[in-house]
């Protein structure tokens, strides 16, 4: 990958963030620290999984996205959306009504991204067949690909080097329009994202140089827009717009949606913390010989995406029912509708490891830091309370050896130092304010947080 920018979709709203420890504790890569009373995300470590967003009690995390007003810039406006969008709506809203609503919102072309899935299935099967490293790991979920790059670098060669459906669909849509004589600059492609990871992947493609997507729309946003204009009755027949959609496409982003094509020689794991456990084992060769491993960061796959509005289980239910009305991918001749270019565009560039968890690039220095971490850990209480602004004692010790934290950041050590009159009360208070901000501990009945957040 060339010129990797550290773009992340997830940002912190400093006004909203009240400085608690929910996100910090939920982050699977320990990327969050609390400084000055607000969450700070370490861009090197963040994999855009969105668990912080899910954990936040005050909605302080947001994802950067484009508004529908961007549509006005283009003559042809293509909406690219994953099938899970349909699953957000109650059954009374037929897919026809949803399609109609999208046209009403100003889109000229509607494209469910799972349409060229037949091509993707063939490509993945070929890659798996010729692979020397098995099991091959799906590259579908960008959060998982990033997780492997940084935390499991030994497994990067196991990632199937194919592109994501949304990029393929964008290429596909652009080529179809070009065939009709439309110029590229007249086309605006808008991807409706179910999660932060896919948003970041569009802005900072993994294994691709540039993304074919022009604009990013939050699925929850689009849901609101659709609900505003959707009709009770269906007026036009939008079925031809779905003529290439298949059962396999609709199921693709759900658990086992990819793995089912490899039958019993495959395994599917969802939920990033579950994925971590499997990857640990895979690194040790403790996973049975399989052809294909489907790993998805969210529980219930994309039906559990953080930008979705519906219940994940109801979404799966609706999509499974829906899929039964569609033919299998193998029965649709996608070559007739797809363009020549798409086949070459399928291949992604090599995905490189990123050693962000190493203590130092110099091994001797790293070893020295590791010894120091051990010595510091003797002093820390091991409560993992997070009061220092780091997720646990070990993380604090690592921050210390990297020069990002001090012994006195630990409130228990502080207490000891106070008893031993090694520091003053003023100094101790200042330390607390460093992590939690000024006046954070004043009595305040309107203070956010600390009230029934667990339930």
């Amino acid at each position: 990958m060339k010129n990797v920018e550290k773009y992340h979709a997830i940002k912190v709203d400093k006004q909203k963030c009240m400085g608690c420890t929910h996100c910090m504790k939920a982050c699977p890569t320990e990327a969050i620290r609390i400084r000055g009373g607000v969450a700070k995300i370490n861009a090197d470590r963040c994999v855009d999984c969105g668990n912080c967003l899910r954990a936040c009690p005050v909605d302080a995390f947001y994802v950067e996205h484009d508004s529908l007003e961007q549509l006005n810039k283009y003559k042809y406006r293509v909406v690219l959306f994953p099938s899970v969008l349909i699953g957000q709506f109650p059954e009374i809203y037929s897919e026809g009504k949803i399609y109609e609503a999208l046209l009403k919102l100003g889109f000229t072309h509607i494209f469910e991204v799972e349409q060229p899935i037949g091509l993707l299935i063939n490509e993945i099967k070929q890659e798996v067949e010729k692979a020397t490293h098995k099991p091959m790991i799906s590259s579908f979920c960008p959060a998982i690909v990033r997780l492997i790059q940084s935390r499991y670098p030994s497994l990067v060669d196991n990632i199937v080097p194919v592109k994501a459906p949304h990029d393929l669909a964008a290429c596909h849509a652009i080529e179809l329009l070009s065939k009709e004589g439309v110029k590229r600059e007249e086309i605006g492609t808008f991807y409706v994202s179910p999660c932060s990871a896919k948003m970041a992947a569009v802005k900072r493609p993994l294994g691709e140089e540039v993304s074919a997507v022009d604009g990013l729309i939050k699925m929850s946003d689009l849901y609101n827009h659709i609900m505003r204009v959707i009709d009770k009755s269906e007026k036009t027949d939008t079925a031809p717009l779905r003529k290439n959609l298949t059962l396999d496409g609709i199921l693709w982003s759900l658990p086992r949606g990819e793995a089912r094509h490899f039958k019993r020689n495959s395994m599917a794991v969802d939920g990033i913390h579950n994925v971590v456990k499997i990857l640990e084992r895979m690194e040790n060769d403790e996973v049975p010989v399989l052809d294909f491993l489907e790993l998805k960061s969210c529980h219930q796959g994309c039906a559990g995406g953080i930008l979705l509005t519906g219940n994940r289980f109801l979404t799966v239910e609706r999509l499974q029912k829906r899929s039964k009305r569609y033919p299998h991918a193998s029965s649709i001749d996608i070559s007739a509708v797809s363009c020549l270019g798409i086949k070459d565009k399928m291949k992604a560039d090599a995905i490189e490891p990123r050693y962000v968890f190493a203590l130092d690039t110099d091994r001797l220095k790293a070893l020295e830091k590791m010894r120091k971490v051990d010595r510091i850990l003797c002093q820390l209480p091991g409560i993992d309370c997070g009061s220092c602004g780091a997720p646990n004692c070990h993380a604090l010790a690592e921050d210390m050896v990297q020069g990002k934290a001090k012994m006195t950041d630990c409130i228990f050590l502080q207490n000891r130092y106070l008893n031993e009159t090694k520091i003053t009360i003023e100094k101790a208070t200042k330390n607390l304010e460093k992590a939690w901000g000024k006046n954070r501990f004043d009595a305040d009945c309107n203070k956010k947080g600390g009230r029934n957040e667990g339930f």
Partner: protein, 136 residues
């Protein structure tokens, strides 16, 4: 950097603890993933050996700037014929151990295969000491 682990006889659920802890450290030292894999496999096999065959023992791993030295010492029963034990497929594991998926007779040969230096000493009634080294 020294890491010590007690290995309890018969506790298969804990086999793998030492190898994953050591793996974590080696990753923080940015050791080549291929080398890490060899080390992890060797240590895991050694752990299983102590759990499955001995009355219990101890593992000491010492990481320096250029590699890792591992010593695995158990308190018996000892190996009667080391040459035989080093052969692929030779195993004295009980049926119960085999039923758990261990005891295929690949342990010691696999450790040797995955290490750069390997030494085994054993005395019946006293115990077995395994030492190996992997260079980074």
């Amino acid at each position: 950097m020294k890491l010590e682990f007690e290995i309890v006889s018969g506790d298969f659920s804990m086999a793998g603890k030492a190898s994953s802890q050591i793996k974590k450290k080696l990753k923080q030292l940015q050791v080549d993933p291929k080398v890490i894999k060899r080390i992890v496999v060797a240590i895991y096999e050694a752990e299983v050996n102590v759990v499955a065959h001995s009355v219990g023992g101890k593992m000491v791993a010492e990481i320096d700037g250029n590699g890792i030295n591992v010593e695995v010492k158990d308190a018996g029963p000892g190996i009667a014929d080391i040459t035989k034990a080093m052969q692929k497929g030779f195993s004295t594991a009980s049926k119960a151990v085999r039923n758990m998926g261990f005891g295929a007779g690949m342990g010691l040969p696999n450790i040797k295969k995955n290490t750069d230096e390997f030494n085994i000493e054993s005395e019946v009634g006293i115990g077995t000491t395994l030492t190996f080294r992997n260079n980074f």
